[in-house]
Symmetry: C2
Subunit: 460 residues, 2 copies
């Protein structure tokens, strides 16, 4: 239920007072190396799920670990009146390589002083353990002050988000009645610079691994070079041919379903005064790559892309080895927008690759994920309430924005549960998620918890 | 000194009788993992050099280990009359990865029965430990029967051949007086099918590592994909542009100094009846790649090539990671012929790479080797004597052939020591040198030892 101003201030004060303890709890969770893509860490994923069940139970939720063929889900409920709110986060994290680029053990997190303020350093601090804990800690403070949890909540934590979410759709379908809600709060996104933001436009993702095989063994390039086909060269041709000279993707039909930005949205985004030099400068770049006729913000939020996420083949060790390799492989992903159909694009991509194969080269494809883009409908009045609550906490008007990353769950909430997804998160551009030295600002954590208190009061 | 027929037969009989012991000694040497390119095995390289010094000393050579900044040389002398013969081999071996493709521990060698006969299986069995030991064992049998070593010999073993021979030229220059000989016997090549062969045409090698850097850290392809430059894509463009649609290399001036095959050599090579379907079939291929207007044998022996020996970048582990990588790198090598100048081609290559770099991408080059091709002058009568000795042993007329691989030492003997190099080896096409499951036929080892006995008798 909504809190009056005094009660709200009391809960917020409680958040401030418990911050050191909230931080300790997050550190405990960060110490669990729950890397979902690597089977070696399956036990740790399970341990992270157990840890969350225990925490949620301690606060008063009815919490349980729910098995899947891979890593378990965590689902927790609280009784109450008012609208049913679903909260989603993921407890799994990205791999940590290259480990040598980390300044500390990725799973020995620490609060660090930096010129820009205090940061929580460690794998998963921003993506997504720090973020999901903002909600848990908001509920804890609420309960401590009011004696009850904030209304009718369902918490839903996934452990496979960073490895393609293989169990998510089946689990949502099987448990649709239990998970269906009036609104789904998803905390896995960021602010726009220093502006708090609700993401209403999300790109989809298609991931494909391509493995080429030429000779049936590695050859000596002295004996065979020039006469035996080299699969690295074939792969390079394939990758080089995926874009034209204007940065457009060449697959036939690729741009079917890609909408032009509405004039209204274009005007709104222009007001955000996105500084691409600044955005690129933080990572050592200066010139926007990509489509030559699009603005940087369009490219990140509303245009489809094709990237090579990894490539491998032949001798990669120290020194030189004049091998002519048998195999070469690449991990390639497409960001999708509008109504682009991931299945059609997968077919177009595989056809394209096959059309470029010379004699004697075989191809194997591995599918890694396929989710369409999603466009959130913001007519639900909960959006405007949440936007105002965010604006109050950060003392800056919150914005509706797009996001470059894919959060397939947003689309699943819409299509499977018919529940509007509301994406609110407190990550910063320089959090280095998926990279070495990932961090989460202490401010993101602290004001994130406070933000959820305000939003919960506004929505319940 | 030359042996008369009876004495020669005695020495050959001694080779046959001592074969089991000769094999045991080779196995000892093969058990030392002397991988020269990987600093972790520096101690093993040193151990292999010590082992050779001990063996040569035991036979009666004046042998010593000679330090270099990296791995030691082994030099041994025997006193005698007649022409001064220099024998060269290398005791270092290639790395063994991918280890999982080996059917046994690469450094636990074994004699195996195969449908095609007995083979010695293990890293270095063919390249080059088995080959250099054919000469050592020939000297041992000669000494056992005649009481002396076969004349005025210098043995010269290198330990850096598989890692670009950084110490070789300085060492040869410093010790030119000691190493200068009437002819240099080099045992690091193969037969032509079942035909014993002397290689008179050798390609040179230029090795270049290219490391591209875009952003100063790995990025998330959701946040930065489309606007941040991807160095894997840049590298793919660079590699794709190195060849035109006819398989020719596009670097300006690349074909300067590439000679056309003489009619005489073309005719001789045609007589060899090279079966490219058979050659490619042994490694699971069927169609010659490469220049569309050249015969397969030309492409392997007398045409320059450009190959990618390794490529690396982004996430290469199991599963998928939507990283937009900071770095991508490739190891690229050129095989050179005629009077192609490795330094000019290095410059042309680096200029080409730089010309293809978009804004914000930096390049670093690492040089790995640069040696011109060499053409051996066979007018020295020693060549015809050796060819006849080989023909006697194998009961097939021996041939003068080309070789696709680079053996820079052949050029160095010519240019630094003014000594004619004679390349004779007993490797087979299916030895899988530089690859998993390397082997050396027991017949190559046995008849290789016998061949040297005959050649030594013919030349001394
Ligand atoms: Zn995430
Ligand atoms: Zn060799």
């Amino acid at each position: 239920m909504s809190l009056d101003q005094d009660r709200l201030d009391e809960v917020l004060a409680r958040v401030d007072a418990q911050l050191p303890d909230s931080l300790d709890r997050l550190m405990d969770l960060l110490r669990i190396p729950s890397i979902s893509t690597d089977p070696a860490f399956a036990g740790d994923c399970n341990r992270a799920a157990d840890w969350l069940v225990d925490e949620l139970t301690a606060i008063g939720f009815e919490a349980s670990k729910r098995p899947t063929p891979k890593h378990p889900m965590v689902v927790a409920h609280s009784e109450g009146t008012g609208p049913h709110l679903l909260f989603y986060g993921h407890y799994d994290v990205q791999p940590v390589d290259p480990l040598n680029l980390w300044d500390r053990d990725p799973f020995d997190p620490q609060l660090e002083d930096t010129p820009a303020g205090k940061v929580i350093r460690g794998r998963g601090s921003a993506d997504d353990k720090g973020q999901l804990m903002t909600f848990v800690e908001a509920c804890r403070a609420w309960k401590a002050v009011t004696g009850t949890l904030p209304g009718r909540l369902t918490i839903f934590f996934e452990g496979e988000e960073e490895s393609g979410s293989p169990s998510l759709v089946p689990f949502m379908k099987e448990n649709a009645e239990e998970l269906k809600a009036d609104i789904a709060l998803i905390c896995d996104t960021g602010m726009f610079g220093d502006t708090p933001a609700i993401v209403t436009q999300l790109r989809g993702l298609l991931g494909q691994e391509v493995i080429l095989t030429g000779a049936d063994k590695d050859l000596h390039s002295g004996s065979f070079g020039g006469i035996a086909i080299n699969p690295i060269r074939v792969l390079a041709d394939i990758i080089a041919g995926l874009h034209d000279e204007n940065g457009r993707i060449t697959l036939p039909g690729f741009y079917d379903g890609v909408p032009e930005l509405s004039d209204e949205m274009r005007a709104q985004w222009q007001r955000l005064a996105f500084d691409s030099a600044d955005f690129l400068g933080q990572v050592g770049l200066s010139v926007p790559a990509g489509e030559t006729d699009r603005t940087p913000l369009e490219m990140i939020w509303s245009r489809p892309t094709c990237e090579v996420n990894g490539i491998s083949g032949g001798y990669e060790g120290a020194g030189f080895k004049t091998v002519l390799p048998s195999k070469a492989s690449a991990k390639i992903s497409f960001r999708l927008v509008g109504t682009q159909d991931p299945n059609k694009i997968e077919t177009a991509f595989q056809d394209y690759v096959r059309s470029r194969l010379p004699a004697d080269v075989k191809v194997e494809f591995k599918d890694h994920s396929a989710s369409p883009a999603s466009q959130v409908e913001i007519s639900n009045p909960a959006f405007e309430k949440a936007r105002r609550a965010l604006s109050d906490e950060w003392e800056i008007p919150a914005a509706y924005i797009g996001a470059g990353g894919s959060i397939p769950i947003a689309g699943y909430f819409q299509n499977i549960l018919h529940t509007d997804p509301m994406l609110i998160g407190f990550g910063k551009d320089d959090d280095q998620i998926h990279s070495p030295n990932e961090k989460y600002d202490l401010e993101s954590y602290h004001k994130g918890i406070r933000s959820w208190v305000r939003i919960l009061s506004a929505l319940t």
